[in-house]
């Protein structure tokens, strides 16, 4: 759970910055409260309280005969209603913020006035009644109307601690957004680098963002450049070998046809055929390593069916049992070559091949099973290596399994060979399902 929440660098950065900001704010706040406790109250609240205390003090200082005139004047000009107060407190909800401000103000002035601020309507915004009980004069109440209270920032603004923490949420969202912006070039870089093998040649990553991201992009681009250079060179060598070996071979092949001696012609034809197949297989292996063929959605069930049908048409016993359709991103030509090699082997060594396809989450497997002699366990790890053969005397280039292995790797998968319990060999192409669809 936690790991998934903090899975991205952006979230971790946002979290760290958020924690740092909130804790530093709390630190400043606590120092502030310790040094000047009153100053944390909103200014408008303190202003109101100061006015109330000033008016009350002035009223008390006046001779009693002038007091009614002042009460009337205050009622007239400020809409404050000052009245004598009995023993009981006015009804309503106590406003703690105003009370606290009043207490601090009274203390500042060195007065001795007991007091209470009540909101008769439940909300201070609709007006408050302040009861003041000076030690040396009769108690009185000051009613302040909604109009004046509208200017007083409500007590909610100095919220309980829980609401203070909620303030951190929008802050965290902003931080998250900013952090994701900071790390976005990295994510883009990863995306671009991931697309390199599929998009093929000529692709460069954008060298933008912070200096670290730029350096990384430059390094990857340098690597790509060297890779491209190597691939281009291999392609050139491949074309050179193809041409330089196949041209004389073509001459030989055609010349042999004109020969008179039947036996010699036959044996030369056989040798030429063998050379040809080794060259073709070697080149196919190099091509598979170059991975030039683009990947595209491929119905691998139709591929398995096709390979089996081609072998059946050539007189072999090859059959496919599996789903009628199954789509996977793959290199159609290369995969067909790999599967053809596996079915070829089965037909050659066992006389028959059974192909099937199984699905597991995230993976598709193409199985080629036969009832032949299988492969000696000691040879199993070796047979997929180029120019290694389980049975040295057997015909064929010895590259069929190496090609299938290379093709499987080009698809991000692998070739698995094992002897079946019931006898015979099972060759499995395990291919990851990269597309979630």
């Amino acid at each position: 759970m936690l790991r998934s929440i903090f899975a991205t660098t952006a979230r971790q950065v946002a979290f760290v910055v958020g924690i740092a900001t909130i804790s530093s704010n709390l630190l400043v706040l606590s120092v502030w409260i310790a040094l000047a406790p009153g100053s944390v109250l909103p200014g408008s609240v303190r202003a109101l309280v100061a006015e109330v205390v000033a008016v009350t003090e002035t009223l008390r200082a006046l001779p009693p005969e002038y007091q009614p005139a002042m009460i009337a004047a205050v009622a007239q000009s400020m809409q404050w209603h000052i009245a004598p107060l009995g023993a009981e407190e006015p009804a309503g909800r106590a406003d703690h913020v105003l009370n606290r401000a009043l207490r601090e103000r009274v203390k500042e002035r060195g007065l001795s006035i007991a007091h209470a601020v009540m909101a008769p309507d439940g909300s201070s915004r609709h007006g408050v009644v302040i009861s003041l009980r000076p030690a040396d004069s009769p108690a009185l109440s000051v009613s302040i109307g909604a109009e004046r209270m509208r200017d007083v920032i409500p007590s909610m603004l100095l919220p309980p601690a829980t609401i203070g923490l909620l303030l951190g949420v929008p802050l965290l969202l902003v931080l998250l957004w900013m952090a994701s912006r900071i790390t976005r070039p990295l994510a883009r870089l990863a995306d671009a680098a991931g697309g390199v093998s599929a998009a093929g040649h000529g692709l460069r990553l954008p060298e933008g963002g912070t200096s670290e991201v730029r350096a990384l992009a430059r390094a990857i681009n340098g690597l790509l450049e060297r890779l491209r250079h190597d691939v281009a060179e291999r392609s050139r060598i491949l074309a050179g070998i193809s041409h330089d070996l196949r041209t004389p071979l073509t001459r030989l092949r055609l010349r042999v046809e004109g020969m008179q001696e039947q036996d010699l012609r036959q044996s030369l034809r056989a040798d030429l055929h063998r050379m040809e197949s080794i060259i073709t297989a070697s080149l196919t292996l190099l091509e598979a390593e170059l991975r030039e063929e683009p990947h595209e959605p491929l119905d691998i069930a139709s591929l398995a069916q096709t390979v089996c049908d081609e072998h059946a048409d050539a007189g072999h016993d090859a059959s496919y049992h599996g789903p009628a359709h199954l789509v996977l991103r793959a290199q159609p030509g290369a995969l067909q070559r790999a599967l053809t090699n596996l079915v070829d082997n089965a037909c050659k060594h066992a006389g028959a091949a059974r192909v099937s396809i199984t699905e597991a989450p995230g993976q598709v497997s193409i199985l080629v099973e036969d009832d032949g002699p299988g492969i000696a366990p000691t040879d199993l790890p070796l047979v997929t290596e180029a120019f290694r053969r389980g049975d040295a005397s057997s015909a064929g280039s010895g590259l069929g399994l190496a090609i299938a292995t290379s093709v499987a790797r080009a698809h991000g998968g692998r070739l698995e060979l094992h002897n079946r319990a019931a006898g015979g060999l099972c060759a499995t192409l395990h291919l990851p399902r990269l597309d979630a669809a």
Binding site: R253, E287, E293, E310
Partner: protein, 247 residues
């Protein structure tokens, strides 16, 4: 079909090949078969020849001293005079990508060196059969679209309604191409056999029926029927087919 066979007998074939000995050997194979052959070793020579004489078929090496054979092939396809000239590329470059590139460049077939003489002759026969075949609509530079299926004869590629490539055997590709060229027309088994194999099949031969049923299994889904069986006669591709020019 005898008429087609005799027509194949005397052809004027141009061979473009920079290796002199291979060119001579190919020529002797073809002349032994009764064809007349003109040899050229450069792209420029063959372009001049094609302007002056009628040529039935061109055998084209991919690597020429004065340029890429593929480029020449594209130029030939672009010119109205030679757009329909059957071309077989003969090349030492044999990878899947190179073959597809060659067919994309407009070649009718792609033969990888080295090859047996019989194989060369078989390919020539197949290409000419397609070019002169019934309907003569056997053009390569089109795309057929039907019921979400998309078939590109040039690349020999079929894509299903979900955009996924559907693999076909060589026979199935030829069969599908034949059906798509003649939608809503009844094709007899004899007609299909002649187009696919260049010959009649014995009366009880099931080859065509097997091929059709395999093709059906690959392209028909959810109980749809594109290919209908016409009793005692043959098959008909019943779905409407749209033909567009390949870009």
């Amino acid at each position: 079909m005898d008429a087609t066979a005799t027509k194949l007998d005397r052809l004027h074939i141009a061979v473009v090949e920079d290796d002199r000995e291979i060119a001579v050997l190919i020529s002797s194979i073809l002349t032994t078969e009764g064809h007349s052959v003109t040899r050229a070793s450069r792209a420029a020579q063959i372009e001049r020849l094609l302007g002056e004489q009628h040529v039935d078929l061109l055998l084209l090496d991919r690597m020429l001293p004065d340029g890429d054979g593929l480029e020449l092939c594209r130029r030939l396809r672009a010119s109205p005079r030679t757009a329909r000239l059957p071309v077989i590329i003969i090349s030492a470059l044999g990878s899947e990508m190179q073959r597809v590139g060659g067919l994309d460049g407009g070649a009718d077939d792609y033969l990888v060196k080295p090859f047996a003489p019989e194989e060369l002759l078989a390919r020539i026969r197949a290409v000419l059969r397609r070019a002169r075949g019934p309907g003569e609509a056997a053009r390569h530079d089109v795309i057929f679209i039907t019921e979400g299926l998309r078939f590109e004869p040039r690349r020999r590629a079929l894509h299903g309604p979900d955009g996924a490539r559907i693999m076909l055997t060589t026979t199935e590709i030829a069969l599908l191409g034949l059906f798509l060229q003649h939608p809503q027309a009844v094709l007899t088994r004899d007609h299909i056999a002649a187009s696919l194999h260049g010959r009649q099949l014995p009366a009880l031969d099931r080859t065509i029926d097997v091929a059709v049923s395999r093709l059906r299994r690959k392209i028909e889904r959810d109980g749809q029927r594109y290919i209908e069986t016409v009793r005692n006669s043959g098959y008909v591709f019943a779905a409407p087919v749209q033909t567009i020019e390949a870009g």
